[in-house]
Subunit: 370 residues, 2 copies
């Protein structure tokens, strides 16, 4: 059997507004160095570099907002990676159109290739501590994906988290994959505890692997109108080759705007009977809030400090500054983030309300702070 | 009896480092608008404008660090006040040399004037809510001062404050003045409660009134070496008339540096038997910390907000910004001050430790943040 090629499709369309004020429209979460010295998309692209026995990653395909394309290409260039294709979105349309158009683009490029490459859909802004384990479970998912299944990676539950969706494990499919018995919305705490105790649930990390042709076939069966809208947008969009190796597909504004904004979970994974799950225990975090980042990066005193910070009697705090000197005295359980003309001081138990601040700035049309 | 002239001597040599990061070397506390739209020295100078039946204030004399003289003259100009004399200090030497040199300067100017004017020594950085009452008690103090006493204004105690020195009331001198039975250092809480319950104690606000000749005579008796050092510095210092009305006395660096750095309280008030006190109930605050400023300026929710601030679920907080947008979520009892490239977040019960931050910056020789 020929070695499988896996084409990473890095989904970089998100805004990450829960990490305001570091995250801005022109510099969304995936472009920030949050968990390490590298930006999230750099971490992601490096994780997706691998030439193994079971499979090889190809150069990545990037799907992003057109406003961020140059910044992303620059960041990838800094780590010696060039995208095979940049697909730029004029507006945000969630993950289903992104996945479908990536599949169309891959098949247009590699229709003559055998075997058909797999596509790995991965968010650009997640942290995975154990890269070796990630690459190993991708290999474990290859047989299921090659046999026409839509593989999702289920993260081992380590606490009764109420902020994530869950995947319920069903019947065994092969050595590593199980069928998906169901997708569950964010549960309340009691339900989350039940899920965790049962051992039959995983966190849904939004990472998927499948054949592009399988994805399109399943879309045709379960969400034909979305497939059709995406096909129209793809056909209407000009493709160009850049000065560097890759090509750019600038999605046509009119036709892409008509694609429904819907996630691949809703549009396909919850409807198809081809969904399966491979368990991954790899130190995953979506860094969905300042408290999640503190958990990931805290030192022995429970603090995570970045920039010119001087603390007195301070514990369990995340304190980041992109320049100004920050001094703290006698504080506990706070996020303090100073970034580009804006300052956030938030109780870490209420960091979900950062979105309300962003909403207020949006209402004000305060472009400088968005 | 001819109407008494009172020459305000505004002591503006302090740094006010407890209000860092708003207060800096080049822009000390008295140059900041803290309790109102006016800066503290503007508030002080306006308070000291009065033509009454019992006395009249003359144009003020300013004693300040030479580095701040231009800024002070500019701020006074903004409110239509010009100093009669600017005495500039090359180094800080506390209040005794300041008071002595001011007395020498007044006598040099007005040796032929009869009756001798009084001098009113007032810190530039205190807030007094009730200006009318202040001016009234100054009038009440005139007879004692004219009869050769050193009058101090004793603030009515309204809480058992441990951060101030206290003045103990002695025998009655006239309708308004009592002799001082003793000066007390900052007490512990139990002692402060005893002071408050007795009704015989006042807060020492550091505001004094006397004849310049009395001050010099008492200094000659109780601190002759300080008087001598100050006389040498005064004699060695060039006086010049500026383009505006007033004159400038630039204190000679060598001789002034040899004056001991000591307060007028220690050098004179605690030693002389001419000290007396006039009670003043006028809404006085030295704004000695961010928590004191919050007490003075808080709204119904217990917050004092200044600048571009957006709060959610926030109470009992002082939040000041000189530019950057500040958003807070779920915080209580904090000072948040964003000023000129520095950010302070401090528990309001520990604001005295702001000094430790300034000490750290001094150790680092971080001129940009001092």
């Amino acid at each position: 059997m020929a070695k499988t090629q896996v084409i990473p499709v890095i989904m970089s369309g998100g805004a990450g507004s829960r990490l305001w004020p570091a995250s801005r429209k022109s510099r969304p979460k995936q472009l920030l160095p949050l968990a390490s010295q590298q930006t999230m998309i750099q971490e992601t692209a490096l994780r997706l570099q691998h030439q193994g026995n079971a499979y090889s990653f190809a150069d990545p395909m990037i799907v992003c907002n057109h406003a961020n394309a140059d910044a992303i290409a620059k960041q990838l260039g800094e780590i010696g990676i060039s995208a095979s294709t940049m697909i730029t979105e004029p507006v945000a349309r969630n993950t289903a159109p992104c996945a479908v158009i990536a599949a169309l683009a891959i098949l247009a490029e590699s229709s003559d290739r055998s075997p058909e490459p797999l596509m790995l859909l991965a968010p650009a802004d997640h942290h995975i501590k154990n890269t070796t384990e990630f690459r190993r479970v991708v290999g474990q998912a290859v047989p299921a994906a090659r046999s026409g299944h839509m593989v999702t990676f289920g993260i081992t539950v380590t606490k009764p988290e109420t902020g994530y969706g869950y995947i319920q494990k069903g019947a065994k499919l092969d050595d590593h994959a199980h069928r998906v018995a169901g997708f569950k919305e964010k549960p309340d705490l009691d339900t989350a505890k039940t899920y965790m105790a049962s051992g039959n649930y995983f966190w849904n990390a939004g990472i998927f692997m499948c054949k592009p042709s399988s994805l399109l076939a399943e879309m045709r069966q379960h969400s034909p109108e979305i497939l059709q809208a995406c096909q129209r947008a793809f056909d209407a969009s000009p493709q160009s080759s850049g000065q560097s190796a890759g090509q750019t597909i600038a999605l046509d504004a009119d036709t892409f705007a008509r694609c429904p904004a819907i996630s691949i979970d809703y549009a396909l994974m919850e409807r198809t009977n081809k969904a399966c799950v491979v368990e991954a225990h790899m130190g995953w975090s979506d860094i969905g809030s300042w408290s999640a980042l503190l958990e990931l990066t805290k030192d022995m005193s429970g603090n995570a400090l970045k920039g010119d910070v001087h603390i007195l009697d301070t514990k369990n705090c995340l304190i980041h500054s992109d320049g100004p000197f920050v001094a703290t005295i006698g504080i506990d359980n706070l996020a303090v983030v100073v970034h580009d003309g804006a300052v956030l001081i938030a109780n870490l138990d209420q960091v979900q309300d950062v979105k309300k601040i962003v909403d207020e700035l949006t209402r004000r049309r305060d472009k400088d702070r968005l």
